[in-house]
């Protein structure tokens, strides 16, 4: 791996110099380049389509799986299908993400389709970071799809972050929840220039006491546009809470489209959405602490997207 590769990996994984703990699979420009498996975690290349199957043995206690993707080739469209099979009562942290470095004029695109199958009592924390850089006119396009199936008593916490530099993204997350399950999503997106980011959430609360909490925090600056569309369907005694908070700056635009459907009298569903510019009083407060207007704005956005 070269310096650009290492830097991209650092941006999307928080791991220094590609030294991953636990199992990992690094994919570069459409091909797997490095892999490590452990006693409890196996990674197998798919035969029919491009991608991998990740198998986590039941009762695995707190292990890590890194599956970063980097793209440095301009004009490449990389579509990958990764399936995660998490055994009963296993507990793992999965860190995915895609970094694109495009210095040329052709578009680079990565579509990662990730499917999670959690058996009873399994617990997963899934972190996904997206990042684009490069000086060329070629667009950096990322369209992640996440599909989650939670069997009874399973929980999945998903943290999805689009750091910067992604020109166009459509992020689709679908989940079907069994009894006593919990699906938590924390999404943070920042867009600038003429970037477009669309998010689609579809969560079906099927089992008794299924619950979901979706929090989306986004900042749209310059001429960028973001759309947040969520649909939570309560088919049982369940709880769903969707919170969409957005800060707009310059000519940034945000559209929030909430949909909650209760098909059971015991379903309890809430959707909250707030869009607005940074409150003047917040800037004034931070200025009384010695920050200038620009520093105050940066501190507010940094906190908001933490």
């Amino acid at each position: 791996m070269g310096n650009v590769d290492i830097e991209l990996l650092n941006k999307i994984t928080d791991v220094n110099d590609g030294k991953f703990e636990g199992a990992y699979n690094i994919r570069k420009n459409g091909k797997g380049i490095e892999r490590k498996i452990t006693e409890n975690i196996n990674i197998v290349t798919k035969k029919d389509v491009s991608g991998i199957d990740i198998y986590v043995k039941e009762n695995t206690k707190m292990e890590f799986v890194h599956i970063p993707v980097i793209i440095t080739e301009s004009g490449l469209t990389d579509v990958v299908y990764n399936d995660f099979y998490i055994g009963k009562n296993a507990n793992v942290v999965i860190i995915a993400g895609c970094g694109i470095h495009n210095n040329h004029h052709e578009d680079s695109r990565h579509d990662g389709i990730h499917r999670f199958f959690l058996e009873e009592g399994a617990k997963v924390k899934y972190i996904e970071k997206h990042y684009g850089e490069g000086s060329g006119n070629g667009k950096k396009i990322l369209n992640p799809v996440t599909e989650v199936t939670l069997e009874d008593d399973a929980t999945l916490e998903m943290e999805t972050i689009q750091i910067k530099g992604v020109d166009s993204t459509i992020r689709t997350t679908k989940a079907a929840l069994g009894s006593n399950t919990n699906f938590v999503v924390k999404e943070k997106i920042m867009t600038a220039q003429k970037q477009i980011a669309k998010t689609i959430f579809e969560v079906e609360l099927n089992g008794e006491n299924a619950s979901t909490h979706v929090t989306s925090r986004s900042v749209a600056t310059e001429e960028s546009m973001q759309e947040f569309k969520s649909n939570v369907i309560g088919n049982s005694k369940c709880f769903g809470h969707v919170e969409c908070d957005a800060i707009i700056k310059d000519k940034g635009r945000v559209i929030a489209i909430p949909e909650i459907i209760a098909n059971d009298v015991n379903a309890n569903l809430i959707h909250e959405a707030a869009i607005g510019k940074i409150a003047g009083e917040q800037i004034t407060k931070l200025m009384t602490l010695g920050l200038n207007e620009k520093e105050a704005e940066e501190a507010i956005i940094k906190g908001f997207l933490r």
């Binding site: 925090r217 009384t288 602490l289 010695g290 906190g303 908001f304």
Partner: protein
């Protein structure tokens, strides 16, 4: 320390401050009091630069700061606690204290300052400064954010406003201990007799003017005798 010269401020054809002239000496604990609408908060905001006067000068330690921005005044050692503390999403109590301190404030130092304003530090340091905190808790954090700066000139705009009776009792105690927390000059806008009682000087405002200024005994006597401010008797 601070001198106000001929400060005038008019909005919607209403004279809010009418030719205010005032000097506040160093290391004093000064309270501005007076009826609602007398111009107290506007005067405090003008001193901090949150509002700009239509006319007049604000002079701090001999330097004309009338045209300085809020943050430039903060850099000169001024601090301001808002009547209604500002809330933030995602910014924690520790973040605010670190920003306020303008130095590497470690967790122990942050906890010390929270304890001084009556908060159990461990419970609060990592909480977001958002609407999950009560009015009393936000007030204490606001006071801590000013205290941690070690401001030479700290302004508190109605610290008692908007908090319940129980929180108020312990908040008063904090102000009674304030001299141990804040070094330099403290200017408090307040209606509360217990805060007036601990002042070196009391300034009485009415209809955008300074009615009286002096030792608390003299000014308070006049206030009670003339029934200028009925709130003070509550």
């Amino acid at each position: 320390m601070l001198e106000l010269k001929n400060i005038c401020f008019k909005r919607d054809n209403k004279e809010i401050l009418n030719n205010i002239n005032l000097t506040i000496d160093s290391d004093k604990f000064v309270v501005i009091t007076g009826p609602n609408g007398s111009g107290k908060s506007t005067l405090a905001k003008i001193i901090m630069g949150i509002e700009k006067p239509d006319k007049g000068q604000v002079i701090l330690k001999g330097q004309d700061i009338t045209n300085l921005d809020i943050n430039e005044r903060a850099k000169l050692g001024m601090g301001f606690a808002f009547q209604q503390p500002v809330k933030f999403k995602g910014i924690t109590v520790y973040d605010i204290l670190k920003l306020a301190a303008e130095k590497d404030l470690n967790r122990r130092e942050a906890c010390d300052i929270l304890s001084k304003v009556g908060l159990c530090a461990k419970e609060y340091i990592d909480r977001e400064v958002n609407s999950s905190l009560s009015g009393g808790e936000l007030k204490r954090i606001e006071i801590a954010s000013v205290a941690v700066r070690g401001s030479q000139f700290a302004i508190f705009d109605e610290p008692e406003a908007g908090i319940d009776l129980w929180s108020f009792q312990s908040l008063i105690k904090i102000f009674e201990d304030m001299r141990k927390i804040i070094k330099g000059t403290t200017l408090i806008i307040s209606h509360q007799e217990r805060i007036l009682n601990i002042a070196d000087d009391v300034i009485l405002m009415k209809n955008g003017k300074i009615e009286n200024k002096g030792k608390k005994e003299e000014v308070l006597k006049e206030v009670f005798e003339s029934n200028t401010c009925s709130k003070l008797k509550e």
